[in-house]
Structure formats: C-alpha cells, structure tokens
C-alpha cells in the first residue's frame, strides 16, 4: 500500500481497501458498493475509538496486500477467499468480521435488498399489509388438533 500524502488521503485509501475486504468476506452479488462503503466507514470510525483495533487494522490491511502475492483488490474472488481464510483466526480478521456483522446488516439499503421492510408499527403493522399473503401452500388449520 502506497504511503498516503495526507491524513484525508490515507483515510480514503483505507476505506477503499476495507470496502474490498468486506465485500470479499461477505459477498452479496446483489449489493452495490454503497452498503460496503458505509460499513467500511463505520469500522474505521470504531477504529478511531479503539487504539488496539486501529493498530491491528493498519497492519492487517498492509498484510492483506502482500499475503496473496499481489494487491488484494487485484486478486480474483477465489484467491481473495483463500487469503482471507489464511488469516481468519487473527485478531485483525475477527475485529473486522464482528463489526461487519453489526453494521452491514443494520443498513437500511441492505434490509431493502434482502427483502426486509423494517419498522412496521407506524404503518399499522402487517395486519393489512401481507402478514398472511403466502399463496404457494394451502391455508393451514389454526385451531389445536384433536
């Protein structure tokens, strides 16, 4: 990884690197870059408040770019996974993975992409918005069996 000239440039570089890493770790073909970029920014924000994680992240992203014999972003998907598997027991990897879980899937655009509608109470719940709209199986008995 090239040494960045300014802190802002360094952050941009880190967001880019982390975005590529997160997509490789959690590959959803239907997701555009936006959710992954927001997730990377959230993780960098967390690093700003946690010295240990920040240092692990700095070194880890540098290692990521050499472990596969070429910059990580230039590897194909299979090779990216192989590189990630090789470091999956490290503090760096787990620090990123655990934070992706709580940020990527807490993203409104991701919810929409996955088909989740989010808060419902203010829309009257689902009583008249499809809680029982499944049409590919017969209606099932709701009373207790005898």
């Amino acid at each position: 990884m090239a040494t960045a000239a300014t802190p802002a440039a360094a952050e941009t570089t880190a967001v880019r690197a982390l975005t590529v890493m997160v997509r490789a770790m959690f590959p959803h073909p239907s997701f555009p870059d936006g959710p992954y970029e927001r997730c990377a920014e959230t993780i960098l924000g967390a690093a700003g408040e946690d010295v240990r994680f920040r240092t692990q992240l700095d070194q880890g992203l540098r290692d990521l770019d050499v472990a596969g014999g070429a910059p990580f972003a230039e590897l194909d998907d299979a090779k990216k996974l192989e590189v990630l598997r090789g470091m999956s027991s490290t503090e760096f990897f787990e620090g990123v993975r655990s934070r992706v879980i709580t940020s990527l899937y807490d993203d409104r655009e991701v919810w929409s992409l996955l088909g989740y509608e989010g808060p419902s109470y203010d829309q009257g719940g689902y009583a008249s918005r499809g809680f029982d709209d499944l049409d590919w199986l017969p209606a099932a008995r709701i009373e207790q069996g005898s």
Partner: protein, 540 residues
C-alpha cells in the same frame, strides 16, 4: 389506523400509580424484580390489601420508548451488565459476556417475551420418577407439587394473560411463517399444530387491543396486544394504592436479624446511593441468574455460603432448555418477519418417548428474526459465501425454534466471579453450562425433524442454528420437599429463611418442555395467595 402515532389509546397510556412508603416501614413486602414473577406477585398482593415495594433494577420504559429496530431495542431493553461464562456450551465462546437475553426494565422479561403458553404436562412434575435411569449426571428431582394442584392456578394465569385457544378465547390467524410451518408439520404426520396457546390478543381482551401483526414483540410490543406485567399487573397494582414502584433500584443484599429472619433489603438507587428498605417479607424475582446471585451476595457470618443455601443448591441446577433453530430456504417468498413472532406451536414431540433415545420432550415454535439479529445469531462467527447464502435467502426463509426439557446438573451453576466486578463494584455472576448427553441427543433429533418439516413443503436448503443466549433461565433456587434437596419449599419460601421467598423460574425443580412464563405466573399467583394468607394469619 387505530393505535398508530398515538391516534388511539394503547394500554401504555395509563401511568402506573406509585406511593412512597417509608424506608423504615416494617409492614411492607419488598419484591425484587417486576417481571413475570415479581410483577404478578406484586399485583396479587396489592389486591389483597398488602402494601408492596417493588425494586426494579431497570428503567421505566413504555410503549412510546420502544423502537421497531433490533439493535437499538436490544441496547435499550436487554440486561447488559457484565457477566462471565464458562463450560462447553457454545454461547461461552460466541457471546462470553452475554449468557442470557433477558430484559432490564420495568416489566422485566415479559416486555420482550414472545408469548407461547403451553402448560407443563402432568408427568413433567415427576421427572425423576418418570424418566428412569440412564441419565448419569442429571440431578433430577420430583416437584413437591402436582399438575392437579397447579391446574386452578394455570386457569387463573391463562385468564389473566388472555391466552388464546383456551377457555373459549379465539386463535390468532396464521401468518406466512406459520403457514409454512404448519403445512410442513402436517405433511410429516404431525397433528398437534396450532397458532397458540399464545398470550397476545386475537381480539380485544381485558383492556388490550388485538394484535396488528407488527412483528416486534421482542422489541417491546408498542401496541400493547401482548400480556406483560408492565401493562397489566403493575398498573392494576398501582390503582389499589398499595404499590410503591422504584425503577432503577438494584438490590445488592438481603439483611437478616439474629432470629433467622430477613429484615431489610439494601439497594442502590438511581444515583448510586445505598439505601435500606425495611421488609416484613422479601420476594426475590430477578430471573434465575440474578436471583441466585443476590442470594449468594447476601452471604454473612450466619449464612456463609449465601442466604438460604444450607443445601448448597443455590445457583446449581441451572437450566436453559434445549434450544436451537432451523432456518429453511424456499424458492418462493415467505416474509417470516411479518406478524406475531411465535404464534405457531407444534406439540407432537412434546411427550416423553424413550424410544427416541432421550428423556423428555420438546416443542417447535415459529420464530423470525430481522436481518440484524439473523446475521448475529444464525451462525455466530461465520463469514464467506456459506454465510451470505443464509442472508441472501432472507425473504424466502421460514424459521422455527426448539424448546425442550434439559437435564438439571449440579455443575451447571451460577457463581460469583471473584475476579470481575460490575459497574457498581459487585462480583459479576459467572454462568457455567455443559450440555448433558440427553440435551444433545434431543437437540439433534429436533433439528432433524425440523428440517424434515420444511423439506416436506419444498425447502431448497436449511441451516441448523445453535442455541441463542438463554431466554429461559431456571432452576437456580429449586423447589423441594426436603430442605437438603433444594432451596425453597412448595410455597416458594426458603427452607432456611421463612420470610424470604423466590418467585421466578429459579424455583423450577425441573424445566419441562414448555416455555416457562405461564408456569412462572401460575406459581406467582399461588405464592401470593399463600403469602397473603400467612400475613393475615400473623405467621409472617
């Protein structure tokens, strides 16, 4: 639309009237915890004219506070004080400081419980006698109570809670997740499936509206269609003028006099000041981890191993039910998150049948999580294409939960961790748990049967989800006929300290297969009847 944006009243709109009884009042019953056990006992005693002080560690949240958003709701409601874990259960690795998912707020865990309400079966009160041998390491004991003795209290609890399917109350309608679940059950030959029994209203009942199928009862149920002590028991207790409800007050020790009786509860108020509330009777109902912790924290020179612990059983026999989930994928939409989360029960595997290779039984219940929680809990620690396959199928996924009887073991226990303290400087509880071989055999059977249900209706794949942090916590102050076998007597009073009662799932002698809340409430009604009678008779 009724109930939205404050357009129509909800049960939360009525404030809870609270008195201010004196710290030196010698006649009050002090109840620690305001959930299924504590909140119910408080109301039942207030109705009998007994003055009650309820100490609740958490804040007073209400309908307007709750959010339809899993992580913010979790942060708002869950008991997140530090805890530690040990043992071979996977929770100790994946969630080492979150052994249990319970609530720290007025109303306790009834504010996030789902609502499934099966009764215990007759023989489940006699697990030791019924299950026979081959259960090495299990510390089974028969309850000192029978189902026949409990039935009148089950009736009262079901009326109080408005449980569907019983006593003429109508069933909830089927949501999509149930339709998949019930069709699958039917196709593999199960017959005991239904949308309940379930303590959320299908139609208006007892001042609570019908469900609007919003799908957020784990997040507090903003609509108030679900029974909780927050919206039913505590407001009614308040109306009697006999309730003094103190939120953000955490009990830290029960003190006793030289005559072997408890005389006060020491607690930290919301400002962190140590207060002393005098008590005629103390009822501990803090959920099984904290109830055991409080008894252990109340150790003294006269009770060196903890209050009420001459048997050595305080904190032991911790049970959490055999649990797990199956999330199955289909090639058509399900939208499992729409509607009542757990309004679906299959009871065909609930009976004891030793031919299956394990003792006890289990239920299947529908379960849905949103993407935030599914990501966290479906396969903790996972990543890569195997993980994203689960998430990508979200809209086409159906989910179920397993809840079955686990074996009490003396080594599964709550202890005080001498090396780790909480925000108040008090030792945190350590929760140690190892599966009994019977637990593991039951879970494997249930996972396989659950997959079969979904395969029968065309699933294209399924994921077996490991047990979540414990939502059913039981057994840590168990009820026994003999003082040497357990902590409390058949009325819930400590064998060692007759005016200290335990009023939550801690008293369960064994766990049975059923979700515990209905039985906690039934026992609480019974216990309050007993306490009131003893007070009126001058024996307490």
């Amino acid at each position: 639309m009724a109930g939205t944006n404050g357009a129509a009243p909800t049960p939360f709109d009525a404030p809870i009237a609270s008195q201010s009884f004196s710290h030196d009042d010698e006649d009050v019953v002090v109840i620690i915890g305001s959930g299924a056990g504590g909140g119910t006992i408080a109301n039942e005693l207030c109705q009998q004219g007994v003055r009650v002080v309820v100490l609740e560690a958490g804040p007073h949240l209400t309908g307007a506070d709750y959010v339809n958003d899993e992580w913010p709701a979790f942060t708002q409601m869950a008991w997140l004080d530090n805890r530690t874990t040990s043992g071979s259960w996977r929770v100790a690795k994946d969630f080492p400081n979150l052994p249990a998912w319970t609530v720290k707020a007025v109303g306790g865990t009834t504010t996030h419980w789902a609502g499934a309400c099966p009764r215990f079966k007759d023989y489940e009160f006699r697990a030791k006698s019924e299950y026979g041998g081959g259960l090495d390491g299990a510390n089974l004991l028969d309850w000192p109570l029978t189902r026949a003795e409990m039935d009148p209290y089950y009736d009262k609890a079901e009326i109080k809670m408005g449980v569907t399917h019983v006593q003429g109350r109508p069933p909830l309608p089927a949501n999509n997740n149930y339709t998949v679940f019930a069709n699958g059950a039917d196709r593999i030959g199960y017959t005991q499936y239904a949308t309940g029994p379930y303590a959320t209203n299908a139609e208006p009942y007892d001042g609570r509206p019908a469900s609007i199928q919003d799908g957020f009862n784990f997040q507090g149920d903003k609509h108030g269609a679900k029974w909780s002590t927050l919206i039913t028991e505590l407001p009614r207790a308040g109306k009697t003028g006999n309730l003094d409800l103190r939120p953000e007050c955490q009990a830290v020790q029960i003190t006793h006099n030289g005559g072997g009786k408890a005389d006060a509860v020491l607690y930290l108020d919301g400002d962190g000041n140590l207060q002393r509330q005098r008590a005629k009777v103390v009822v501990i109902a803090c959920n099984a981890i904290e109830s055991a912790r409080l008894l252990l924290l109340s150790a003294s020179p006269l009770h060196p191993d903890g209050l009420g612990n001459s048997s050595g059983q305080v904190g032991r026999n911790y049970m959490r039910h055999v649990t797990g989930s199956v999330y199955a994928r289909f090639d058509k939409p399900v939208h499992m998150y729409r509607g009542e989360t757990m309004a679906g029960v299959v009871a065909d595997e609930a009976p004891h049948d030793a031919d299956r290779g394990f003792a006890g039984g289990y239920y299947f219940e529908t379960l849905a999580l949103g993407p935030p929680f599914l990501a966290a809990f479906a396969e903790p620690g996972s990543w890569g294409p195997e993980f994203t396959e689960i998430m990508d199928a979200y809209a086409n996924t159906a989910g179920l939960w397993i809840t079955g009887e686990d074996m009490p073991q003396e080594t599964n226990r709550i202890t005080l961790n001498g090396a780790v303290t909480d925000q108040h400087g008090l030792p945190v509880p350590n929760v140690h748990f190892d599966d009994h071989p019977n637990d593991a055999a039951m879970r494997d059977h249930a996972w396989a049967q659950g997959e079969k249900m979904y395969e029968a209706v065309g699933s294209t794949g399924a994921h077996r989800t490991t047990p979540y942090p414990s939502t059913h916590n039981m057994g840590t102050a168990r009820m026994s006929e003999k003082p040497g076998d357990g902590v409390v007597n058949p009325h819930g009073a400590c064998h060692d300290v007759p005016n200290v009662y335990v009023g939550d799932g801690s008293v369960f002698t064994t766990g049975a297969a059923a979700n515990p809340t209905l039985t906690i409430v039934a026992l609480a009604i019974r216990e309050a009847e007993h306490i009131g009678g003893e007070i009126r008779a001058g024996r307490l």
